[in-house]
């Protein structure tokens, strides 16, 4: 009978006609804190099931259970979880106690299930909405993570509004492939591409990654985020298989909550100002004559006589005050069946250079709908339109466009200002007039993006000890990007060329689709002492890219039509990738004392040499909660967890690595021909695979008032895919294949404490400390300079060498290749504090320290050559000028101490709010905050965080005239209706 019944249900399920009915017992009650305040929106879950609800505004709840007795689990962020056994229908009231750290928050471990943090075997970092955007205004998600996560290294490659960040979790995991973490927002795999604009064809920059584009995580509004989980290493990310090598960032956006509809309105206004000015060389008439000769001295003196001062171009170009305006409104609410969060936000930000800026308009609708007891549906929709104007910075060759590059050769007595007719003079000492470029040339982009996720949960079977559900989900990320670069025909370096004037329009379309099916089976064994969660599933990922760049050269006066240009040309890049994976995982939890997981994933990808070969990625972990054991009698220590985890992940070669191809060419505008493209592909290329072993201990003292988390990891990347220079005489310049092994070892420590907890004063503090060390442990070929990561051994370059850190900088010093530095910091630290005074005042600040690590400051190479470095009137400056221009001369310490965020907020007392607004307004919060308010560093340029090559590969730490970083100051208004 039983068997027959089951088959019947399964058949119905397959026909998508569920039919499950159970007896219902209703339990209701109120959840309050120990001083009687209601706990709103606490989770109430029938233990071991997914049956659950949340408390409403007044802390009351009501839940239906199939059978009695049951154990109900009450949890809420910031409170200690309560388990309450219930044997009869009726009222059950519960009291919850506040905890210092959200020990009981739930974190994601696999694709279909989650686990309590107190049971996790990995150090998974979580960042809540409050931590992310609660202190100060944030432009991008990656920029908002500074100092909030152990084991992460964030580098801003540009100070331009709209970002440009490289995020690395536990060191470099890939050199040529993707080493940015996989980002998943509400189940949708997100595209974080850095899109080139084609300005290199006007500026002469060497590669697309010298164009300083933003990475497109910038499209995600940080204010939509509820929380971020960061799976840092392979052991935590193993279930993501070949997409997990660089770690996984799982972002959950805000969801609707049951209860009265709440409206939140917030308004931020702020300013961007240059964070650090370098200043001008204090020229004297004599020094001008000594350096440039008597004729220049005359010009210098003439300008001083006319203007009384020199032209301070640093101030003229970078000295603008950029206004920031951000307005957001959201509504959240819901009933029994449907919950919703809808919101919209508009951020408009000007940069510190005139005509630069970033704006983003974002709309979101997140709907949860319970169709029946069997089915529930979740839909997350996000439309974004963002625009950026980033102007021209960074490396170039003869373009006369990049501000820093041009200013290095612009003498402060050169007059670049336009005459009364608006004609800009040519720059007598370089190929461009920066004021002309700022006012007339354009480098802009526009993004239209739609991100949609859909999840259907089906409870196939629910019995006392077995619960089976099926989760089917899909996601789409459609990104349409337009780039626009315009250099007028009157620009200095365009004059006299064959076709003066340059316009490039890019149409870049990215489609990314992912689907997955997971079955989850929860089973209670040993009379409920052992909980077993088994899941199996499969995923499919599809990515399609079509980048088309249209270029017109030879423009009619003031015309910007490509069609009307004298010579048109095009660049196109196409790619299509497909991944398929299957996975299974079993997790056992014995009385919250021993928690063990084993899992396996199989993956294949069209980017591998054999697109149909499966690669396997195992994982296993164990957490032991000693404090939950019966023998534990140390009252002061409420948590003592020892944990260990092992896992493997992979990373297929980047698209195109299997091909050896020709590219088209013409000679003297003759017929089309083909010439070797220069990259020797490897048709047998295998994915890079990482295996990581992680150990740690988590301690909680005094009911988790003090928490300590310590983790050691060792991550071994095998068969690293490297692009290396081939002997040029082979006719190829590069090959890409599996060549090396790499090891990353590190320690992560985090301690948090409620230092003071009294009625009128609370102080919560958190200190993080972490370090990573890398070493190339195997290299099949002789040591080599990494192509595209540096400027050759002459000026310094990343250099792949066995036994050395992968981040080392090597230069040719008197004919000997010498390690001159290492961009990896010795360690990093963050100290964050939240203080509440008299319940109404919130003070928070976040310090960040990066100790050690070197940069190669090639901006100084240029300013030295142009004789404008600020220190050249000193003996030290002159001594440097007389030294050979090798890597040793330009390597500089890049450590810093920075006040990353600080804020002061005032929450208007509710009585006052009621007196003023009546019942229409629930809460009002006012505040002021700042970002990058203070920096202490020995680094001589704008910001020790820099990258001339954007976020890809080995890139950070080499500087060529970047967009200077800004300090931001905000005023905030937040109103709840």
């Amino acid at each position: 009978m039983k068997q027959k019944n089951f088959n019947y249900r399964m058949l119905l399920f397959l026909l998508l006609f569920p039919c499950i009915a159970f007896a219902q017992n209703t339990i209701s009650g109120k959840v309050s804190t120990d001083n009687g305040d209601p706990v709103a929106f606490a989770n109430v879950i029938q233990k071991g099931t997914s049956n659950g609800t949340t408390t409403d505004f007044d802390g009351t709840y009501s839940i239906d259970v199939a059978t009695l007795p049951v154990t109900l689990e009450f949890s809420s962020l910031g409170y200690t979880t309560v388990e309450q056994s219930v044997s009869a229908e009726g009222t059950v009231d519960v009291t919850m106690q506040e905890s210092a750290q959200a020990l009981d928050e739930v974190i994601v471990t696999g694709l279909g299930t989650s686990i309590k943090r107190s049971n996790a075997a990995n150090a998974v970092s979580s960042v809540t909405a409050e931590e992310l955007v609660g202190t100060t205004g944030q432009t991008t998600v990656d920029g908002a993570l500074y100092g909030k996560v152990t084991g992460v290294n964030i580098t801003a490659s540009s100070g331009a509004p709209g970002g440009g960040f490289a995020l690395r979790l536990r060191g470099i995991s890939s050199i040529n492939g993707n080493n940015q973490p996989l980002i998943i927002v509400d189940g949708v795999y997100i595209n974080n591409v850095e899109i080139p604009s084609g300005l290199r064809f006007a500026s002469g920059a060497n590669r697309a990654n010298e164009e300083n584009g933003a990475n497109r995580l910038a499209d995600l509004d940080p204010n939509d985020i509820e929380d971020i989980e960061i799976l840092k290493g392979s052991s935590a990310a193993a279930i993501y298989g070949q997409r997990g090598n660089a770690g996984v960032i799982i972002i959950t956006t805000k969801r609707g909550k049951r209860g009265k509809t709440k409206i939140n309105f917030s308004q931020d206004v702020g300013v961007n100002k240059i964070a650090n000015r370098l200043g001008m060389r204090p020229w004297t008439a004599q020094s001008v004559e000594d350096v440039f000769g008597a004729a220049e001295r005359e010009k210098f003196e003439a300008v001083l006589a006319t203007n009384g001062q020199l032209y301070d171009y640093e101030d003229i170009i970078y000295g603008e005050t950029g206004f920031i305006n951000e307005t957001r409104i959201s509504a959240t609410g819901g009933g029994e069946k449907t919950k919703f969060y809808v919101g919209g936000g508009f951020r408009d930000e000007e940069g510190i250079i005139k005509n630069t800026g970033f704006d983003r308009f974002s709309m979101r609708a997140n709907i949860d709908h319970k169709i029946s007891n069997t089915f529930d549906l979740t839909s997350t929709s996000n439309y974004v339109r963002s625009n950026a104007s980033r102007s021209f910075t960074g490396n170039e060759n003869e373009g006369g466009l990049s501000y820093g590059y041009t200013l290095a050769f612009t003498r402060p007595w050169n007059n670049l200002f336009p005459d009364a007719q608006g004609n800009y003079p040519n720059n007598p000492t370089f190929a461009g007039n920066s004021l002309f470029v700022r006012d007339r040339a354009k480098n802009e982009d526009t993004n239209n993006r739609f991100i949609q996720g859909l999840t259907l949960n089906t409870k196939i079977l629910t019995t006392d000890t077995n619960r089976v559900k099926l989760i089917v989900s899909g996601g789409a990320d459609i990104l349409s990007n337009q780039t626009y670069v315009y250099v007028p025909e009157t620009h200095q370096s365009q004059q006299g060329t064959l076709n003066p004037g340059f316009i490039a329009e890019g149409n870049n379309n990215f489609t990314q689709l992912n689907t997955q099916v997971i079955g989850v089976w929860d089973h209670d064994a040993m009379g409920g002492d052992l909980g077993l969660t088994t899941q199996a599933g499969m995923t499919y990922l599809y990515q399609d890219v079509n980048n088309l760049l249209s270029i017109g050269q030879g423009l009619l006066a003031n015309q910007t039509s490509i069609d009307n240009s004298a010579a048109q040309s095009f660049n196109q890049f196409l790619s299509r990738e497909k991944d398929f994976g299957m996975f299974g995982q079993v997790e056992g939890n014995y009385k919250d004392q021993f928690i063990a997981t084993i899992g396996y994933r199989l993956d294949k990808s069209t980017r591998n040499g054999d697109p149909n070969e499966f690669y396997g990625f195992p994982k296993a972990s164990l957490a032991v909660n000693l404090a939950n054991m019966n023998f534990w009698n140390l009252e002061a220590i409420n948590q003592f967890k020892v944990r260990g985890a092992y896992g493997e992940t992979g990373n297929p070669a980047q698209f195109g690595s299997t091909f050896t191809s020709y590219t088209s060419t013409t000679a003297g505008d003759g017929p089309v021909g083909q010439t070797l493209a220069g990259l020797k592909g490897d048709p047998d290329i295998q994915p890079e695979t990482a295996s990581e072993l992680e150990f740690g201990v988590d301690l909680g003292f005094l009911d988790s008032r003090i928490n300590l988390e310590a983790t050691y990891y060792n991550k071994q990347v095998d068969d690293l895919i490297l692009t290396r220079a081939l002997p040029g005489s082979s006719g190829f310049t590069q090959e890409r294949t599996n060549l090396a092994d790499l090891e990353n070892k590190g320690i992560e420590l985090a301690i948090s404490a409620d230092v003071v907890k009294s009625e009128n004063f609370t102080w919560n503090t958190r200190v993080q400390w972490y370090k990573n060390q890398s070493e190339v442990t195997r290299l099949d070929v002789p040591a080599f300079a990494q192509p595209g990561a540096g400027f050759g051994t002459g000026l310094g370059t990343f250099f792949i060498e066995e036994g050395k850190p992968v981040t080392q900088l090597v230069g040719n010093i008197d004919g000997v290749l010498t390690q001159v530095g290492d961009v990896e910091p010795d360690f990093q630290m963050a100290w964050s504090n939240n203080i509440t005074i008299f319940k109404q005042w919130d003070i928070s600040f976040l310090w960040q320290l990066k100790e050690g690590g070197e940069n190669l400051n090639l901006s100084r190479f240029l300013t030295d050559l142009g004789q404008v470095s600020p220190d050249l009137e000193t003996q030290a400056g002159q001594d440097r000028l007389a030294s050979p221009t090798n890597a040793l001369r330009f390597v500089e310490p890049a450590g810093y101490l920075r006040l990353r965020e600080a804020a002061l907020y005032y929450r208007v007392p509710s009585k006052l709010v009621e007196n003023i607004f009546g019942g229409t307004v629930e809460g009002v919060k006012l505040g002021a905050s700042g970002r990058n308010l203070f920096t202490e560093t020995d680094y001589s340029s704008y910001d020790p965080e820099t990258s001339v090559n954007g976020g890809a590969g080995l890139s950070s730490g080499i500087e060529v005239t970047p967009f200077p970083s800004a300090t931001q100051v905000y005023f905030h208004l937040n109103v709840n209706f």
């Binding site: 002469g204 008597a294 220049e296 170039e396 060759n397 003869e398 373009g399 590059y405 050769f409 007598p428 000492t429 190929a431 461009g432 077995n466 370096s493 004059q495 079955g519 199996a536 270029i551 010579a567 040309s569 196409l574 398929f580 299957m582 294949k604 069209t606 697109p611 091909f659 050896t660 191809s661 020709y662 088209s664 060419t665 013409t666 000679a667 003297g668 505008d669 003759g670 021909g673 083909q674 010439t675 070797l676 493209a677 020797k680 290396r724 220079a725 081939l726 002997p727 040029g728 005489s729 006719g731 310049t733 002789p782 050759g792 051994t793 002459g794 000026l795 370059t797 240029l862 221009t885």
Partner: protein
């Protein structure tokens, strides 16, 4: 209960198998370009001709940097542009040495060998197809080998050595010293010569090869290259006999010869040695310009028309970059589409003169020198007739006839005269180098 487990497992496995089977990925092809394997065998004439275009197009690779780098080393010119190494490293500023992993050492090497590889792939494709006859095949291979030889000579000139055996990228031959490399190059040229002797040409070259586009004239180009290789190898009589079968003409048009042609199209290349002249009466262009070394102007014989034809004073001679003054700038080319000579009759006349000095035919040597002098508006040579004196005069004529064309550094080196260049000038600490270092990657 057991049944339940089994059902769940079975259901899961069945679903997994179904999805896995339905999801088989097809063989991947490059959507962005034709594959190399696609033409390795049974290529059509159309495909072979596309490879020929690729050879001619890549023949121009590295041309600008080879000219400016060796020109700077040989103190013919300075390149003022955005890269400070052009006025730093290349002049040995403050005692710095040349780096074997920087653009100036890799640009020409990689560019020329790309062309050599294209030519070798053409040879392989033409030899492995039934689409062409034996004489048509000879046309392809004779052309390809002549181009390879020319490129390898450029390697010898800039680097003092060359890797000759490079057809199989997995098994590269050794890097040969100058003598061995030149011998191998001359053998290759002779091979191409005999192939072109029994060839029919079924491909088209650009207008730069106008007059050198059939089997006979291509063979004349081959012999002109052979004559150049012979004088570099010190073989005067070999050079003279090769010249006899080339387009050398003592009293003919000095500009005759194949040329690199340029185009404005997106997949074409422009003449990188052309620089926009400074505006008359305006500021000197020191942002992107080739500055003519003042010694070249000042050492010239009065009335040498080549000086005015190839250079001009800048509007502001006090303009400077990196401590170097911009007194004169290039006028070598008129526009970014001006063709660059591969080997013109003027150079053949100079080769003729040099070959005759080597062979001891003083009269013919002087005739060659005078042909050049007269064409530059100078009177006949009046100096002595010793080999040394004639060589000095010849090198001087080469200095002015071939300025800015990657000759001076090699001419000084092969005659042991590099030490006549002024070190510590114009900046104290500047050094003289006689060749570029072979790229670091060659050790890989």
């Amino acid at each position: 209960m057991k049944n339940l487990y089994r059902k769940i497992t079975l259901f899961g496995m069945a679903a997994a198998t179904m999805l896995a089977v339905s999801c088989s990925f097809e063989e991947q092809v490059d959507p962005n370009g034709p594959s190399v394997d696609g033409v390795a065998s049974e290529a059509s004439i159309g495909q072979l001709n596309e490879l020929v275009v690729g050879v001619e197009a890549s023949f121009r690779n590295g041309l600008a940097i080879e000219t400016t780098a060796s020109g700077t080393l040989g103190r013919e010119l300075y390149l003022f542009d955005a890269d400070p190494r052009n006025t730093g490293d290349l002049l040995g500023k403050n005692g710095i040495g040349l780096d074997n992993n920087s653009f100036y050492s890799t640009g020409q090497w990689n560019g020329s060998y790309r062309c050599v590889k294209n030519a070798n792939l053409l040879i392989e494709a033409a030899s492995n197809t039934s689409a062409v006859t034996a004489s048509e095949q000879n046309g392809y291979t004779g052309f390809a080998k002549t181009v390879i030889a020319y490129e390898l000579i450029q390697m010898v000139k800039s680097y003092g050595q060359a890797r000759v055996d490079v057809a199989d990228e997995e098994n590269l031959g050794p890097i040969l010293d100058e003598t061995a490399a030149l011998a191998a190059i001359r053998t290759l040229l002779d091979e191409a010569n005999s192939e072109l002797g029994n060839a029919s040409i079924v491909f088209n070259l650009s207008e730069g090869f106008e007059g050198f586009d059939d089997a006979g004239s291509m063979r004349e180009f081959n012999r002109a290259v052979a004559a150049m290789a012979a004088v570099y190898a010190g073989d005067g009589s070999g050079a003279l006999s090769a010249l006899n079968n080339s387009y050398f003409s003592l009293n003919g048009d000095l500009t005759v010869g194949p040329k690199h042609a340029f185009g404005a199209g997106g997949n074409d290349a422009q003449n990188g040695v052309f620089k926009v002249p400074s505006p008359a009466g305006g500021d000197t262009n020191i942002g992107d310009n080739i500055i003519v070394h003042p010694d070249w102007v000042n050492d010239a014989e009065a009335g040498d028309a080549r000086v005015a034809a190839k250079s001009a004073p800048t509007p502001d001679p006090t303009a400077s970059l990196d401590g170097l003054f911009a007194e004169f700038e290039t006028r070598l080319y008129d526009s970014p589409l001006s063709p660059v000579d591969i080997l013109r009759n003027e150079e053949l006349v100079l080769i003729y003169a040099e070959a005759n000095i080597l062979a001891g035919n003083t009269g013919n040597a002087v005739a060659g020198i005078n042909r050049i002098r007269n064409s530059a508006g100078l009177s006949n040579y009046t100096g002595g007739n010793s080999t040394a004196e004639l060589t000095t005069e010849l090198l001087n004529q080469r200095r002015y006839s071939l300025w800015g064309e990657n000759h001076r550094m090699y001419d000084l080196r092969r005659y042991g005269l590099t030490n006549t260049l002024p070190a510590n000038e114009p900046r104290p600490g500047d050094q003289i180098f006689d060749r570029l270092p072979v790229p670091l990657a060659e050790e890989n």
